[in-house]
Symmetry: C2
């Protein structure tokens, strides 16, 4: 059991900068820190009861993730998120989701397939109950399992960063999901394609799935313009 213990301890310790990084990232994604809002090191450090150093290090990482924008000797701001930005992200995600799903169709294990089924069932449940938090959670899990099953670590990493961006946009501008029925149906078809090992159609459906999101967002943007 020593292995387990040491592993637990390893997961246990987190440097302050990691804690702060996660806190800030979540705050930005969940819209608590709004696009364009200024981030001041001293202020944050005081608020969290730490010194500026770990705060600074966290901000550097957020910068590379694109969540904040730094202007040298001026300050740091929460990145703005234009419709063009989110279109760019979705354009990429369409490709990468297609890739991940087709890889998953080839490489998924039985246990993962079962997980996928379970998560989907819970997803359907939450939709029926109208539980938005639950819906979001299970939607994220659904795609996470697929990405994990692709057996491509870097793909997992990149796509989760992209997913964050979309999530952020959704929270800040859309404030929720729409067309859940359609999403549900697409998830159904994705599961079928993966479980039958049909990587070609898995890719096609996954790509459509994202493109439909694009359309939904475009229509919302246009609506808010008029």
């Amino acid at each position: 059991m020593a292995g387990k213990l040491s592993k637990i301890k390893l997961n246990d310790y987190q440097p302050l900068r990691e804690v702060i990084f996660n806190t800030l990232r979540d705050a930005i994604i969940m819209g608590e820190l709004k696009p364009g809002e200024r981030i001041m090191e001293v202020h944050l450090a005081e608020k969290m009861g730490v010194s500026r150093t770990p705060v600074r290090e966290s901000i550097r990482k957020l910068e590379l993730e694109g969540l904040v924008t730094m202007v040298p000797r001026k300050g740091t701001f929460v990145s703005t998120l234009s419709p063009k930005d989110i279109m760019d992200v979705l354009e990429i995600r369409a490709s990468l989701d297609a890739l991940a799903t087709s890889l998953a169709a080839k490489r998924i294990k039985d246990t993962e397939l079962k997980e996928l089924d379970n998560v989907h069932i819970q997803f359907v449940n939450y939709i029926e109950k109208g539980n938005l938090q639950g819906i979001i959670k299970k939607d994220v899990e659904f795609h996470e399992i697929i990405y994990r099953s692709s057996r491509n670590d870097r793909l997992i990493q990149i796509s989760s960063s992209l997913r964050e961006q979309v999530q952020r946009y959704r929270v800040v501008y859309l404030k929720g999901y729409s067309n859940t029925a359609e999403i549900l149906d697409e998830h159904d078809r994705i599961i079928k394609a993966i479980s039958s090992g049909d990587s070609k159609s898995a890719a096609i459906i996954a790509e459509e799935h994202i493109k439909n999101q694009e359309k939904a967002i475009i229509s919302t943007v246009n609506k808010s313009k008029t």
Copy 2:
């Protein structure tokens, strides 16, 4: 002329951490810092004549780019780069290059098309002369123009980070290019597809182009095993 002066000054100023970040990144990509090699803050700071702070901040960013690996309270090491890692990267690049090239076929401007032609001509020249440095440079430029023409900023950013990884692998393990004739032919066909606006075949050719690189690398790996 005041505008020009102030503009120059603006571009001129780079925080130390940026300079260090770039220096270290290049050193890793060019194989001067070898995979697994340890990176010590004090040591680097002394060597570059600065304090530890900007060095640390640079390392944080390198970590997020995946070029170094940190173990809390132990130290930082140049990331190792297994064949599996590089296969993962190429798998993604195949998709993203296909995407970028198909987008470029739709969105490229005449001036960029001319640039592309020019770079390709220079590329051919360098191949004939056997100038390896030149070949690499023009190959990079070729793909950079295509990515730029995709008009998708995030795609540009992600793919250039992936390209760095491949480049690093090439330098560290392969120490050069092979099958230049094939690459040349593929670039030719990519230009044709883009200039005729044929996004479908542009995507297909670009994907093949990367997959051929995969094959080349796989065969080299297998060769070095025996």
